[in-house]
């Protein structure tokens, strides 16, 4: 087939996914602010079942993780895999299908949660029809992604693609195994696993959804966009490769640290604790790699809000990946388990790391996609301050309440009697819940500013057509008409 036009990257689907991602960030965080307010004013559900905390909280987590997070990962994955492969996206139509089908799943899935359809398993609440849809879309995502890599014009597969690849493969495995259930009706199924075994499978999933989606997936984003923004190569490519395999191997063991002192075998808890501590090494290897990469671009940091977000996200990544292993130690976990500390930990990762690295990436990416300047650097800088303040306040409030809860619950007097009643401890948390609401509002306000800023940047502009640049010799991979490599062995 003779092409008239030069090949161009499929970037319009990237723009659309960014738009959806921002939309879900605004909506999902609004739900978060609402449930935070329900801690202070429990009648804020106005007697409506669909506003009830037990339904709204899973909607919040699903909208931000799967709506905001996965849309951002698809967008940045599609963008970076084309550029690191020097080829247009494989089956662009399928990429568009992934884009819209995923939004439909998040939308209908969210509504189904409000309707009370839930499997109850954390971060896997959606019922079986959605589970099947997710699995199918995920396979399509994999076909587009790996198909693009298979047709690449450059020999090495760049490190960011490994993390996106890990995201696609491992999440597929976790999702399918954990979601196995026998359906009763469209809205109800019973898990294939029961009791303690169900708990072990669920936290193998739950922790590694955090691992390979919220950590690994976003590390893919970091490994592509941090060097781009800092205008520096990765400090040590070899370190990133070693860290990748160590991360992939050790993360998967860590799940049962969510079940310390629960009714599961002690050896399961112990392996999880040890591997959680081991995990500190690859996590911080990546942190060091990132900081060293950006350390040659400090001057740029002063004026570029996008880079500021990404560097701050690294700091919170370091904090969260240090705090996690500490909380996985049984004697620490005995205090932190079941408390607000866990919520604070999750948000230091979700706000400080995931959201900030995404914000930084969007501020960098969106102007480039349409060939324009960012609408307002001042607004972006203001957003940065709001995001930082919101995240810090959130974490501090939840540390205070979580550690208090943990210690007060466990406190017994000299006679072995409980020192405090549950109700009194709970009532004492009110000021912290107030601070948390303020923190959420700050962070959400910043996100609104970004949504406006990006909207104004995109408005009335067309996506720039970009063609793959030629690949220099030792790295070039020659391909025939069908896109198959004509020779694989190095000359």
């Amino acid at each position: 087939m003779q092409r008239q036009n030069p090949e161009i990257y499929e970037d319009r689907v990237v723009v659309r996914l960014v738009q959806f991602s921002v939309l879900w960030a605004v909506l999902g965080m609004a739900a978060g602010v609402w449930v935070a307010a329900e801690f202070l004013w429990p009648t804020l559900d106005f007697g409506q079942f669909w506003l009830s905390f037990g339904r709204l909280r899973p909607l919040h987590t699903n909208a931000v993780i799967f709506g905001f997070g996965v849309s951002a990962l698809m967008a940045t994955g599609f963008y970076s895999v084309q550029r690191t492969s020097h080829v247009r996206l494989f089956l662009p139509g399928l990429a568009w299908f992934c884009c819209y089908a995923w939004q439909l799943v998040v939308l209908l899935g969210g509504l189904s949660l409000l309707a009370g359809w839930t499997s109850s398993k954390e971060y896997a609440e959606l019922e079986w029809p959605f589970d099947i849809a997710i699995a199918l879309i995920w396979v399509c995502f994999g076909i587009v992604f790996f198909g693009t890599i298979a047709r690449r014009r450059i020999r090495p597969i760049y490190i960011s693609n490994w993390f996106y690849g890990g995201l696609i493969i491992v999440i597929a495995m976790l999702h399918i195994v954990n979601s196995l259930a026998l359906p009763v009706t469209l809205d109800k199924s019973y898990s294939l696993y029961a009791g303690a075994q169900d708990a072990i499978v669920q936290w193998w999933y739950g922790h590694n959804a955090v691992g390979f989606l919220l950590t690994g997936g976003f590390l893919g984003m970091l490994y592509y966009f941090l060097p781009k923004q800092a205008d520096q190569p990765i400090w040590s490519y070899r370190l990133s490769v070693v860290a990748f395999w160590a991360f992939t191997y050790s993360y998967i063991w860590a799940g049962p640290h969510h079940l310390h002192y629960n009714a599961v075998p002690e050896w399961v808890q112990s392996t999880a604790m040890v591997m959680s501590l081991v995990l500190l090494a690859p996590s911080w290897a990546t942190l060091i790699n990132g900081v060293m990469t950006v350390s040659k671009a400090w001057a740029k940091l002063k004026r570029d809000p996008a880079l500021k977000f990404i560097v701050l996200s690294l700091a919170f990544y370091g904090l969260a990946t240090f705090e996690g292993p500490m909380m996985a130690i049984r004697s620490v976990n005995v205090v932190s388990h079941f408390t607000d500390w866990t919520i604070g930990h999750v948000h230091s990762g979700a706000l400080g790391w995931n959201a900030m690295v995404t914000y930084g990436t969007f501020y960098f990416l969106v102007p480039r996609l349409v060939g324009a300047e960012l609408h307002s650097t001042r607004l972006a800088n203001l957003h940065f301050v709001l995001a930082l303040a919101g995240t810090l306040l959130y974490i501090l409030a939840m540390w205070a309440s979580g550690v208090s809860q943990g210690l007060l619950w466990l406190s017994v007097d000299r006679l072995g009697e409980l020192s405090f009643g549950f109700r009194d401890i709970m009532a004492g948390m009110r000021p912290y819940y107030g601070l948390r609401l303020v923190a959420g509002l700050l962070f959400w306000g910043g996100t609104l500013l970004m949504a406006y800023n990006l909207f104004m940047t995109l408005r009335g502009r067309r996506t720039v057509a970009v063609s793959p640049p030629p690949v220099a010799e030792p790295w070039r991979l020659e391909r025939g008409a069908a896109g198959i490599a004509t020779e694989r062995a190095r000359a």
């Binding site: 202070l40 398993k121 090495p156 359906p183 998967i252 002192y261 408390t339």
Partner: protein
């Protein structure tokens, strides 16, 4: 071939990369999760543990639907303060008919695994409909709709019991046949309270302690 050369191959071959990720990420699950699926002590009921009857199961499904597990755990840890506050610590054998498990990850409210029998039915009804009437400092939502809907409307109970039987729960044909009748005239709130009142009551704590002392789990 040394490790770096091998790695060069993976670095340039998408198929090897996919295979490598799958292999390396599967090990943990195969060594840690898979064996626990075959560990008998995790799937053997205690002497007092039984399947949920039609009303209890309906109550449990309401508990799930309303997301009670988002704020309440069902897992008493073997710690002095927890046993003091809630009762005997939770044993794996008590949960073998729990699909899904409802141990939870957060205690915004107290643990509920040993809630059965601690409060009267009427206390629960008032508490569910207006928590602050009996616990002034409570931040629990109210669930007024539970008093308005019939328990029989919470899914197809016979289909549920049949599915659970296929998963190995010992329901007799008579149990399944009589199930719709058992739900007749009950509201959702009634079923939920029946479930709450049986929670954690299937444990003979003295017998379980004795078994633990003999090295069982």
């Amino acid at each position: 071939m040394n490790a770096l050369e091998l790695h060069k191959k993976i670095e340039e071959n998408a198929g090897l990369l996919i295979f490598g990720i799958l292999l390396v990420s599967a090990i943990g699950g195969l060594v840690q999760v898979l064996p626990s699926l075959f560990q008998e002590s995790l799937s053997t009921p205690l002497s007092g543990t039984r399947v949920y009857d039609a009303v209890e199961l309906t109550g449990r499904d309401i508990y799930i639907r309303e997301g009670c597990h988002v704020c309440h755990s069902q897992q008493v840890r073997p710690l002095v303060a927890e046993v003091e506050r809630y009762g005997p610590y939770s044993r794996a054998g008590e949960f073998v008919y729990d699909r899904p498990f409802l141990w939870g990850s957060k205690r915004t409210g107290p643990d509920l695994h040993r809630i059965g029998g601690k409060y009267s039915d009427i206390w629960h009804e008032v508490h569910l409909l207006d928590p602050r009437q009996v616990v002034p400092e409570s931040i629990m939502p109210a669930y007024p709709w539970l008093a308005e809907r019939p328990a029989a409307g919470v899914g197809d109970i016979q289909a549920k019991l049949r599915v659970l039987r296929r998963l190995g729960h010992p329901y007799a044909d008579a149990d399944i046949a009589a199930a719709p009748q058992r739900l007749e005239g009950l509201r959702e709130i009634d079923a939920l309270i029946v479930y709450l009142q049986m929670l954690g009551t299937g444990l003979d704590a003295d017998a379980a302690d004795a078994a633990d002392a003999h090295g069982g789990h």
